[in-house]
């Protein structure tokens, strides 16, 4: 009896639209997101993203926590790039506090941020392979990420939610054994990335599934607010580490991979190349690391003077903006987080329109969204 609902009316030859729910529980939604998709056969005509399944009101929580108490919450904003989440928030508060960060601590911040970027991209690589039906990639990506997670465990004791950064420094110093671990890890990952290339990058099927799919032009990518590797793949040469420097990034030499095609393959290549560039930065940090203090002088009670600051950093998925308004009390008056994934989700309807169901999955994988960052 339910079948009648979907069948065309007996006296007309017009076909009905088919609305399909992708999610909130679906194998290729990266978290709990729901996409209402209007299909015409296999062709996607309309996509309506429905978000909010992971909403935890992080911004509102911030208003009832003291400044240091909110650091662990920033881990949970984008849990695959927790170090970068810490970094954005800590830098914003430090700008209000006007504290000096010792050199060793600043170098360690760059080190963990870049290692975390690699870890995040490794997971993206694995899940993208899975989205396209290649089951083996996901185990490889997670295996290599495990090396980085072990390094972080040595460093701060946590494996996912690090809360490693502090106002004016970092929580713990790095041990020589951990440095050795990182030094061993770098050539290993280089070798493995070469293996990834042979497994996925040059594969004919992979190229057929990504090249020319989900194209977005330079202007449109900017207008839709895409950031990070997504916008760089459309030909916008823009990286906050270089163009709006923070931490000690101007000291390091690295290239910003840019592609012009704007399709899934270009986004894939940009992210892939970023892993090599991050490895270069990590190597340079290790060469510069000298003994010294890891914690600058900060007041016992963090009470920034009244004021407003907007600070943006380059998180693994793009631009992470932190707007912080302080009123002189020990809690933020208002905190606004601008996550890269939220805008990326907004662009899915534009990117996926007119493509097939399989391409929709390919597109969602290529823009690398993470749902806790979308909902916050």
């Amino acid at each position: 009896m339910y079948l009648q609902q979907y069948a065309p009316e007996p006296d007309s030859l017009e076909s009905q639209d088919l609305w399909v729910n992708f999610g909130p529980q679906h194998p290729s939604m990266h978290g709990v997101m729901r996409l209402l998709v209007r299909l015409e056969g296999e062709v996607v005509r309309e996509v309506v993203p429905i978000i909010g399944y992971l909403h935890r009101a992080l911004e509102k929580i911030a208003e009832s926590r003291t400044f240091p108490q909110f650091i662990p919450y920033t881990d949970r904003e984008d849990y695959l790039g927790a170090m970068n989440g810490n970094l954005g928030y800590v830098l914003a508060v430090e700008r209000l506090l006007e504290v000096e960060v010792p050199r060793r601590a600043a170098l360690l911040r760059v080190l963990v941020a870049e290692l975390n970027r690699i870890a995040s991209h490794l997971i993206w690589w694995g899940t993208y392979s899975l989205d396209l039906g290649g089951w083996t990639g996901v185990t490889y990506g997670f295996r290599e990420r495990e090396g980085i997670v072990d390094i972080f465990q040595d460093l701060c004791g946590a494996r996912l939610t690090y809360s490693y950064l502090r106002f004016g420094g970092v929580s713990r110093d790095i041990r020589p054994e951990t440095i050795q671990k990182i030094k061993d890890f770098i050539p290993f990952l280089r070798k493995m990335l070469g293996e990834y290339r042979t497994l996925l990058t040059g594969n004919v099927i992979f190229e057929a599934r990504t090249q020319g799919i989900g194209v977005i032009s330079k202007e449109e990518a900017v207008n839709w607010g895409l950031t990070g590797p997504n916008v760089r793949a459309s030909g916008v040469d823009y990286d906050l580490r270089r163009d709006d420097p923070y931490c000690l990034y101007p000291e390091f030499e690295f290239d910003v991979p840019v592609a012009v095609e704007g399709d899934c393959y270009a986004r894939y290549l940009c992210r892939f190349e970023e892993m090599y560039q991050s490895l270069r930065i990590v190597e340079q940090v290790l060469a510069k690391l000298e003994p010294g203090p890891i914690q600058g002088k900060v007041p016992r009670v963090i009470k920034p003077k009244a004021g407003e600051v907007y600070l943006r950093t380059e998180a693994p998925r793009g631009e992470l903006g932190v707007l912080l308004v302080a009123d002189g009390s020990p809690t933020p008056w208002r905190l606004k987080l601008r996550g890269p994934s939220f805008n990326a989700v907004g662009a899915i309807p534009r990117l996926a329109q007119g493509w097939k169901i399989g391409d929709l999955i390919s597109i969602i994988g290529s823009i690398d969204i993470i749902l806790p960052d979308v909902d916050r």
């Binding site: 039906g133 290649g134 083996t136 169901i357 929709l360």
Partner: protein, 331 residues
């Protein structure tokens, strides 16, 4: 083997009904065991590709894992969604299951180990194996689930597209041997295996066989990342197990057929015939597993284009060339 089986063969010739029953049960039981072994093999090989141990708890090297899994599926509650079209939904796994197993009766595993040697063996196998698609379509329609419907429709389109080049590729060995009987084709490969005379046909057959069994890179009907479970989204317990077993039985079937048509069937030195047969099938199955765990999935329209615009003309050309060479007396 011949002497060992002779009394039984005599008995079955006197009482045909008993013979048919025993043969049917043997094929069915044997193929169930083969499918179970295959599931284990797939999991172990996949684990090896993915650098993880795979099942290793029940029995030596996890050998009993699939048996426990099958028993678990049998014990599960048989969930029947309220919105299904009951008889269509109910009959679908049965049809798929029966189609997968019925085709085995003509496969000659050994000079004497076969149920019935039909003089239209190749035709029979393809005809029976084509039933499967009806079951998949019924599952897709009867489930009353949009994902299932997509899976069923994709499956129908895909199987029709790939059946044509598959049969054309299989006609090469038929033309060479001059018979449709599977046993006759194997015997005709006494000197040289047809894979040497029909390399293009063999490759086309392998590709289409992967598509026929709905495996990656051509696993459109159940494309997990897109359609969650495809046509078997709404099935659980025993019915799911039937789809699952049928998938593996189908895989063994197409590999057996490839062995018969191209790899000389039971022929080989030193070892008994059926050992050679299963070694060859095992090698082909390993190829299938290898494909599955290394390739991404193609898109549905690319799949169709590949079948109609590449494989089909190629298969036609191959068949024409084979015919020409036979007429010229080269083969």
């Amino acid at each position: 083997m011949q002497q060992f089986l002779q009394p039984a063969i005599d008995l079955f010739e006197r009482i045909p009904l008993l013979g048919m029953t025993v043969a049917g049960l043997t094929v069915f039981g044997g193929m169930c065991v083969v499918a179970l072994v295959l599931v284990l093999m797939e999991r172990k090989v996949a684990a090896d590709f993915q650098t993880r141990p795979g099942p290793n708890r029940y029995g030596p090297y996890g050998a009993f894992q699939t048996i426990w899994d099958a028993l678990k599926l049998l014990r599960k509650e048989d969930i029947r969604p309220t919105a299904v079209d009951f008889w269509v939904w109910f009959a679908a796994p049965v049809i798929v299951f029966v189609a997968a197993f019925a085709a085995y009766v003509t496969i000659p595993f050994d000079p004497v180990l076969y149920v019935k040697d039909l003089n239209i063996g190749v035709l029979y196998v393809f005809a029976i194996a084509s039933w499967g698609v009806i079951g998949v379509l019924m599952a897709g329609w009867g489930s009353n689930n949009r994902y299932s419907l997509f899976g069923g429709l994709r499956s129908a389109a895909q199987l029709i597209a790939y059946e044509a080049p598959m049969i054309l590729a299989a006609l090469g060995p038929v033309a060479l041997a001059g018979t449709l009987s599977l046993r006759g084709i194997v015997e005709a490969q006494q000197g040289v295996w047809y894979v040497l005379l029909q390399p293009v046909g063999f490759v086309i057959y392998l590709i289409t066989a992967v598509a026929e069994t709905n495996r990656t890179p051509f696993d459109m009907p159940e494309a997990e990342a897109e359609l969650t479970g495809g046509f078997h989204t709404e099935y659980s317990g025993m019915k799911f197990a039937m789809f699952f077993l049928a998938e593996y039985a189908n895989m063994v079937l197409v590999c057996s057929l490839a062995t018969v048509l191209f790899l000389g069937g039971w022929q080989g030195p030193w070892l008994p015939g059926f050992v050679w047969f299963f070694l060859k099938v095992g090698f082909l199955v390993f190829l299938f597993i290898w494909f599955r765990w290394t390739f991404p999935r193609v898109r549905v329209d690319q799949l169709m284009v590949f079948a109609w615009k590449v494989l089909l003309p190629l298969a036609f050309l191959n068949l024409l060339l084979t015919g020409l060479l036979i007429v010229l007396g080269v083969f």
